[in-house]
Every structure is written in structure tokens, then in C-alpha cells.
């Protein structure tokens, strides 16, 4: 009995000693590569966002390296982008973010997408006091992840308040019975958007006849759709992740519920959604941060470069653009700070006021930068602009939802 435990103890001791001997030397030498870390959802329900962000981040890093890298204090450094796949899981994102900083020596982090992933990474950034820049994360949802305000984390994306106007503005362009049904899940953005929609509806002259809530990952929508159908609403507003969205669409088709307008936020922002849903998503609307005709800097450039990768002019393309933009914000900040000191970089990020492919980025006191939002509608492989950021009509909205016929 004693010997058995001794053997075990020997293993533990050996391991502990081996580990303590493994301390790596600290301090950067001249010319060492600068490591930027990112934990991305390259697989799982959010993989469309992850792979697109990766494209965008890498594009900016490659551009900087091609121009000779980052020169700080007279020394030139190559920039290395280290990416890990968190499989759309928040716990993994947190673990990987920590590892990227503590084990891989990342001086700053670039974020994943959506609050469930971005909040854990923001928390790590705050804990380890390392700057991190995020996008594809609605601002109010992101801000729920802190009780005293972010010090090292920054987010450039849309603000839900401004975004929740676009659905009603778009709906105004079409003849409806002004009745609205709202479907939202219970992750950060669901309650926020539902509350804003309910608040805004009256202003715009609409009535919310039903608000249906469900947990993320729900696959059985039979009761919910039956309720929605019974209320006879012409307009459906939803905040739902892509796989849940497929189940919802399927159920609506089964029960023969074909609303005039169906807005699917988040799910509708998945590249190739019409394809993924077997055609059911044709005609679905979603707020978008990038579309042809929006008038953003370098719009045509990015469209031609990334249209094939994104499979069309859709949210994936927009995500590439946004990824590129925040990577540029970060690398420009490092250049301005002229050092890899976290606090110096952090201050430089805060001072950003630049025109980027995503739009004008300038951070407010709460570390957020709101960017323009439009409404688009799915037509095959593209998301076509139907409402511009300043509320004007663009292309004609097709109604009712074609895919649910």
C-alpha cells in the first residue's frame, strides 16, 4: 500500500519538478516577432464568422509584413498572427485567450464574434491587462459583460439601439398589417433586442402581438410557430443563431406560416444561408454592416477580392472587411505607441479616429465605436441592400418571404 502511493507520488514529483524547470526566459530581444493572438470559432455554429474574421485579420497582418513589418524604436519586427479554434465555445475561447497571452506571448488579442464568445475573451483581457479589440459583437450585448466598464477591451460594431430602427424603417417600405411577432433567444442580445423592438414598435406605428423566447440550441419550434401563426402577424423579427434559425424556418414551412417580412438577425448574417437552409431563407432580411451600394471606403476593392471566398456579396464578406479594419486599428495603435507595452498600446487604441473600410472608427468613453447599419435581403448568394444607413430605400424588397412558399 505504501509503495503504491510512493510510486504515484514519484510521478507527481517528477512532473512538478519538470514543470518548474520549464520556465521560459522572459523579455523580448531585438527583432523578435510580435505575436497577436485570436481565438476564433473556426468550427461549430458560428464558423462562418470565425473563418471570415480569420481572412480579414490575416489580410491586414500580411499587408503589414509585406511592407516590412512593424518598426518600433528603430527595430523592425515581423507580425505573427496566432489563431486557435474555439469551436464556438465560450469556455474554450477563454482558455485559449489566456494561453495565447501566457504561453504564446501575445501582446494583444483580436476578438471572436458574438457576445457569448467575446465576453469571455474580454474578461481575460481585463484580468491579464492586455489590450483586445473586438468586432461582430453588438455593443450593448458586449457591455453587459462588465460591471465597472472595460479598461483594456474595445469593440467596433453596431449599436443595437440604432440597429433596431432599421427593421421598422424597412417594413415601412412595404404594405403590411403592422402586426409584429418577435422571436428571441436568451443569450445577451436576445433580451436587449427584444426590449428595444418592443420600445420602438409604437413609435413607428407597429403593434407587437407576441414575444416568444427560447433558449439557445432549441430545435423544436412547433408550439412557438403555432402561436406566432395564430397571431396573424405580417412581420416577424427574430434574433437567432444559424442552426436554430434552420429549425425555425423548417417549422414555419411545415405549418404553412409565410409572413410578409421575416427578419433574422445573426442567423441571416451567415454566408450562404439560402443554400444551408435548402432554399428556405430566400427573401429573409437581416441588418447588415456591408452591402454593395452602401458607399463604404474601398467597397468595390473588397467585393472583388473576397466575393469568391464569401460565396457572394454577403455578411461573410462584410465580416472579412470588419476583421481587416480592427486588425488595422490594432496594428496602427502599436505603431503609434512605438512599443509593445500593453498600456501604451491601449492608450493608442483609445486615441483612434480613422477612416477604415468598415467606416469611421472612433471609440467612445465606454470603449465602443458604433458603425453604420443597413438592411439587406437574401437573393440567392447575395444579400441585396434594401435600406441605406440613413434610412433611404435602395433595392426593392421582395415580399412575402419567397423561401417559405
Amino acid at each position: 500500500m505504501k509503495k503504491k502511493v510512493l510510486v504515484a507520488a514519484a510521478v507527481v514529483a517528477a512532473t512538478a519538478l519538470a514543470l518548474s524547470g520549464c520556465a521560459s526566459g522572459s523579455g523580448s530581444s531585438k527583432g523578435d516577432p510580435i505575436v497577436i493572438g485570436a481565438s476564433l470559432p473556426l468550427t461549430g455554429p458560428l464558423q462562418a464568422f470565425g473563418t471570415s474574421l480569420q481572412q480579414g485579420y490575416q489580410a491586414e497582418v500580411d499587408e503589414v509584413n509585406a511592407a516590412g513589418g512593424l518598426t518600433l524604436g528603430g527595430v523592425t519586427h515581423e507580425v505573427t498572427l496566432k489563431i486557435q479554434d474555439n469551436a464556438s465555445d465560450g469556455t474554450k475561447a477563454s482558455t485559449q485567450a489566456k494561453s495565447l497571452v501566457l504561453d504564446d506571448g501575445a501582446v494583444a488579442l483580436l476578438g471572436p464574434a458574438t457576445p457569448p464568445l467575446s465576453i469571455p475573451v474580454s474578461t481575460v483581457a481585463e484580468q491579464l491587462k492586455v489590450p483586445a479589440v473586438f468586432t461582430i459583437t453588438p455593443i450593448k450585448g458586449w457591455l453587459t459583460g462588465t460591471t465597472s466598464g472595460y479598461k483594456y477591451s474595445w469593440d467596433a460594431f453596431f449599436d443595437e439601439a440604432q440597429m433596431t430602427n432599421t427593421q421598422f424603417q424597412a417594413a415601412d417600405l412595404v404594405e403590411t398589417n403592422k402586426k409584429v411577432v418577435i422571436f428571441t433567444d436568451t443569450e445577451e442580445d436576445g433580451p436587449i433586442q427584444a426590449a428595444l423592438w418592443k420600445e420602438r414598435a409604437a413609435e413607428h406605428g407597429y403593434t407587437v402581438v407576441n414575444h416568444i423566447e427560447f433558449p439557445v440550441g432549441n430545435t423544436n419550434f412547433s408550439s412557438q410557430v403555432a402561436q406566432a401563426k395564430a397571431s396573424g402577424a405580417d412581420v416577424v423579427l427574430s434574433q437567432i443563431i444559424p442552426p436554430d434559425g434552420i429549425a425555425l424556418l423548417k417549422e414555419m414551412k411545415t405549418q404553412g406560416y409565410q409572413p410578409k417580412l421575416l427578419f433574422m438577425e445573426k442567423a441571416g448574417n451567415t454566408g450562404g444561408y439560402v443554400d444551408i437552409t435548402g432554399g428556405l431563407a430566400e427573401g429573409v432580411l437581416s441588418a447588415n454592416w456591408f452591402a454593395e451600394g452602401m458607399g463604404l471606403p474601398q467597397e468595390a476593392d473588397f467585393i472583388s477580392k473576397y466575393k469568391t471566398f464569401a460565396g457572394g456579396v454577403n455578411s461573410n464578406l462584410g465580416t472579412v472587411v470588419y476583421g481587416y479594419s480592427i486588425a488595422k486599428v490594432l496594428l496602427d495603435a502599436i505603431k503609434t505607441a512605438d512599443s509593445t507595452d500593453p498600456d501604451a498600446i491601449n492608450t493608442a487604441i483609445g486615441a483612434t479616429d480613422a477612416s477604415l473600410p468598415a467606416g469611421q472608427i472612433k471609440f467612445a468613453a465606454d470603449h465602443s465605436a458604433a458603425l453604420p447599419m443597413a438592411q439587406t435581403q437574401w437573393k440567392g448568394t447575395d444579400q441585396v441592400l434594401v435600406l441605406t444607413p440613413d434610412g433611404q430605400a435602395a433595392n426593392q424588397i421582395v415580399t412575402p418571404v419567397a423561401g417559405l412558399k
Binding site: G44, A87, N218, T219, F221, S223, P243, K253
Partner: protein, 290 residues
């Protein structure tokens, strides 16, 4: 919110038919070998995924693809029972739990590696159709599932009562030692029963994927639902599985209607825990062997 319409009741019963079909394999294995196969949920998911793959490859009706996949599943399950589960069944209570559980995790993780955690559904022209029978809305896939379930129970009952193989199964189940003595290959019999169970689970998985969607992490949910079904219906009774299924389907649907659809799972699992706490051996404690 919610009302007890004919729609809700019919939907509940048919959903129950789907659950019963999914649970049949678990019931069969328990009835014959007293083994609770913790990997059963993963058999459902695996069958659905393999079928979905085949359908993407060769197209055509999912049920056409479901048959070769069911045979494949049977072929996989046979050696699993024979060389892994059977030998550990005599090593006490923990071993079979850990073994079936381990296999379940292995299957689930393999599916995650190859398919990621996105739910997958199988498409067919009739997958989204609803029939209107006397003013009641009937989901076609659920109706098919119920019919398949009933048919399978009838076929299996016939096989067990009237065929030679069935008699061997009864003997091996009742008294393995004695059965071995009279020349019945108990190992082969048990393995064959597991093979049938896996094939049935595979079909069940296809039906689930047709009606809704299925994802690797949900294997555990389905295991629990199947277990609830057989605990209510009577452990070891095939026809009891049908009744158990209907009851679970009804309770879940009515519960969802009145408490809220997001509580579906909670209702079912809450009922399971309650039953286990009150009557650890199942609602109908007498073992009716059919």
C-alpha cells in the same frame, strides 16, 4: 397561455410514437440482457448522420438510405456486444455502465470531429408537410414514425414468440447458464439482439433528423428520453415501450403548451427523476415479458 386543442393532443401522441420508436432498441436490450446501454443515444445520432451522409452522396429517399445504414450499424454493434459488453457484464455493476458510457463518449466525440456540433437534419419533400385530418394538423413525419414504431413492435413480438431464434432469445434471457447447457450460443444470441437494437436505433435517429434536427451532444438527451419511455412503459416490455412513448410525448407536449415550450426538456427529465425517486423500478414494477 396554451389550450388543450385536438392539435396539441394528437401532436403529443405522435411525438410519443417517435420517442417510442427511438426507445425500442434500449428496451429490447434491457429486456433480454438486463443491460442499460448508455451508448443508445449515440446510436441514434450515428445512424442519423451516416444516413444523412449517404443521402447527400446518392440522393433519393432517406428511407432507402436508412436501410443499408441500419445494417451497417447492426454490423458494428454485434462485435461490440460480443467482445466488449458481454464479457464485462459479469464483472459487477460498474463495469457495464462504464463500458457502454465510454463507447458512447467515443462515438459522440468522433461525430464531433467529423461533423462539428451543428445540428443536422435530413431533408425530404415530405419532411415539412402537414396533413389535415378532420381539421387536426398532423405532421407527416411523426405519423410515419409512429407507424414504424407500431410495426416494429409487432414484428419483434412475432419474432420472439414464434420463431426459433426468438425462442433462443427467450431462453438466453431467462436463464443464460441453462440455455448454454442445452446448446444455445448465448454470446451469439446477445450480440444479435444488440445488433437488432442498433439497427432500430439507427432508424429512430433518421426519423428524428427528418422531423427536427439532431446534433452529437444531443445523444445524452435522447438517451434520457428513451430511458424515461421505458421506465414509464415497463422495463422489458416491448408493447409497454409504445405506451410509455405516447405518455411521454403527451406529457411533454401538454407541459410545453402550459408551462412554456422552452421547458420541454425540463418537463421530461423532471418526470424521469420523479419516477425514479418514487418507484426506482419503474412505474409498472411487474416485469411483463412479451
Amino acid at each position: 397561455m396554451g389550450n388543450l386543442s385536438a392539435d396539441v393532443i394528437v401532436q403529443g401522441i405522435l411525438l410519443g410514437g417517435l420517442y417510442a420508436t427511438a426507445a425500442l432498441g434500449l428496451s429490447l436490450v434491457f429486456g433480454v440482457m438486463k443491460l442499460i446501454n448508455l451508448a443508445h443515444g449515440q446510436f441514434l445520432v450515428l445512424g442519423a448522420y451516416l444516413t444523412s451522409l449517404l443521402v447527400s452522396a446518392i440522393g433519393g429517399d432517406p428511407f432507402l438510405s436508412a436501410i443499408p445504414v441500419a445494417i451497417l450499424m447492426a454490423a458494428i454493434a454485434y462485435p461490440m456486444q460480443r467482445y466488449i459488453f458481454s464479457p464485462v457484464m459479469s464483472s459487477g455493476e460498474e463495469a457495464p455502465i462504464t463500458a457502454t458510457f465510454g463507447i458512447g463518449i467515443a462515438i459522440q466525440t468522433l461525430l464531433l470531429i467529423f461533423f462539428s456540433s451543428n445540428p443536422r437534419s435530413i431533408d425530404a419533400p415530405y419532411a415539412t408537410s402537414q396533413l389535415d385530418i378532420f381539421g387536426v394538423h398532423v405532421r407527416l413525419t411523426l405519423l410515419i414514425a409512429t407507424l414504424i414504431g407500431v410495426a416494429t413492435v409487432l414484428v419483434l413480438t412475432f419474432v420472439i414468440k414464434k420463431t426459433q431464434f426468438g425462442r433462443q432469445v427467450q431462453a438466453a434471457s431467462f436463464d443464460p447458464a441453462a440455455a448454454g447447457l442445452v446448446g444455445i450460443n448465448v454470446k451469439h444470441t446477445y450480440a444479435s439482439v444488440m445488433a437488432i437494437s442498433a439497427a432500430s436505433a439507427s432508424i429512430g435517429g433518421v426519423l428524428i433528423a427528418l422531423s427536427f434536427a439532431i446534433a452529437p451532444p444531443e445523444g445524452t438527451n435522447w438517451l434520457l428520453r428513451a430511458f424515461t419511455v421505458i421506465v414509464i412503459g415497463g422495463l422489458g416490455s416491448l408493447s409497454g415501450t409504445l405506451y410509455g412513448g405516447f405518455i411521454v410525448g403527451l406529457v411533454e407536449t401538454v407541459g410545453a403548451e402550459f408551462i412554456g415550450p422552452q421547458y420541454r426538456d425540463l418537463v421530461v427529465f423532471g418526470v424521469l427523476v420523479l419516477i425514479l425517486v418514487i418507484k426506482p423500478n419503474g412505474l409498472f414494477a411487474k416485469r411483463v415479458r412479451k
